[in-house]
Amino acid sequence: MTALLFFVCSLVAIASAALVVSRKNPVHSVLFLIVCLLSVALLFLLLGAQFIAALQVIVYAGAIVVLFVFVLMLLNVKKETVTLHSSTVQKLGAVILVIVLLMEALFVAVMGVGWLSKEAWIAASGISFGTVQSIGRELFTRYLFQFEVASVLLLVAIVGAIAITKKR
């Protein structure tokens, strides 16, 4: 059951990601982005990270994508006539590099990395993993300072965004 769910979700995620990149109309891209993000959220759930899954839906699918949509509507861009980059070198290089990068990453994923093992996977599947409680405790004790910094970062981003777009 879990395996089936995993395969379905991951296939949807990959497919929609590919569509995000390949659609000519950016509005379509945004819609497929939502699909992709939601399926990744499902994957999070499968991994037992409920809180992150919830955040994924709220922050990404909610806030960020809405932002994209707003901007798209604001700009009212017409469809691209040419989708791809103009330089041949860039195109060719990008394709080759992406393939190489993918190979490398898959190699890592499949062959594994030294410190990961099946045992670790099983042992860690406790009940408290990924709950709001466990993350909250960590976040407000050990990572409190980083948390505060993150909040400042957001504040700066808000101010910055306003300042940049302000019409003079």
Partner: protein, 101 residues
């Protein structure tokens, strides 16, 4: 067939690669930004996977921060896109190359 670390990582890798391809190849700056979101998401997936594998919550905390950064990045990034569009009436990355010698 049990689903393991490798599977999740593989999915993460593929999504990441797709994101990279988007960043490198697309000309519409909005799509490029979306591709960046894809890459960040792929990274998040890998983090959660590692967190799950190691049993430590730290990985998920990082994801939280990544999301924060992503939100900030999109906010600022889209703001820049907005004024760039205002100035040059285009969202084409290729045409935004004045920042050079």
């Amino acid at each position: 067939m049990p689903v393991g670390v490798s599977h999740y990582l593989a999915v993460s890798a593929v999504i990441f690669a797709v994101g990279v391809a988007g960043v490198l190849l697309r000309r519409n700056i909005l799509v490029v930004l979306m591709s960046i979101e894809l890459m960040l998401n792929a990274a998040n997936l890998a983090f959660v996977t590692f967190s799950r594998a190691s049993g430590a919550v730290g990985g998920q905390i990082v994801v939280l921060f990544v999301m924060t950064v992503a939100a900030a990045e999109v906010a600022v990034g889209l703001a820049i896109v907005l004024i760039a569009f205002r100035a040059r009436e285009t969202t084409d990355v290729d045409e935004m190359n004045v920042m050079k010698w």
